[in-house]
Symmetry: C2
């Protein structure tokens, strides 16, 4: 769990995330909470999501426009990437040992240290493809 105190706000954010499968922005989450009657400051939503992401409790990714999206992740605190369906938003968590080692060797090859990487996939999932 994030922080040490159980508050109404954190409980509500956690519960909302549990009911959502897909990625949502902090702003959307704030709005959804308001619709449920949970009056929580936007700053608190940002702070909580940020802390959860740091703790590996939620996945976060950035859209092409620089907005952060969050969702409850299936495998907490494991480094992984996402394959997101462009049309329905369905998300598959991708995690390859080959991938990570390849990525690490590419960095090492060029003498870089403290290397972080961002990798996201956007495509069309099977059901959306056949629906066409």
């Amino acid at each position: 769990m994030i922080g040490q105190r159980v508050t109404r706000q954190r409980t509500a954010i956690g519960a909302l995330l549990d009911g959502l499968g897909d990625f949502r922005s902090a702003q959307q989450i704030h709005t959804l909470l308001a619709e449920r009657g949970e009056d929580i400051g936007l700053a608190t939503v940002y702070r909580t999501l940020g802390a959860m992401a740091t703790a590996g409790e939620v996945d976060s990714l950035r859209t092409g426009t620089g907005e952060s999206l969050f969702r409850r992740c299936a495998r907490p605190s494991t480094h992984h990437h996402h394959l997101v369906c462009r049309s329905c938003g369905r998300t598959v968590e991708v995690q390859g040992p080959n991938l990570e080692s390849l990525v690490r060797s590419i960095a090492a090859e060029h003498g870089f240290t403290d290397v972080e990487h961002t990798l996201e996939f956007f495509g069309t999932c099977q059901s959306c493809a056949s629906a066409r």
Copy 2:
């Protein structure tokens, strides 16, 4: 070329980019131009870089913090990724056949089609690491 008119501003931005090998933000480019005595509005820098990126004249990528970086691209229209030094901006173009095939197989494995991917690396290069 971008647009139809050759202006002092566009010429200066193009010339600056030719002299830079690495990724720079619009803000940095604006500052560098000012240092060269080129007084160009920040909005113009953004407009010009945006148009150049759309036209494929420059590469652009986003940092983890949502900032856009630009540079004159070495190999226009070749698929590749970037390993960028966080502190000096030095950039290595990364292009691995292993990488691409691995990426393709991951997508196929989950039944996704039309898959695009974004992959960028940010780290500290050798000279910046030793300078510390």
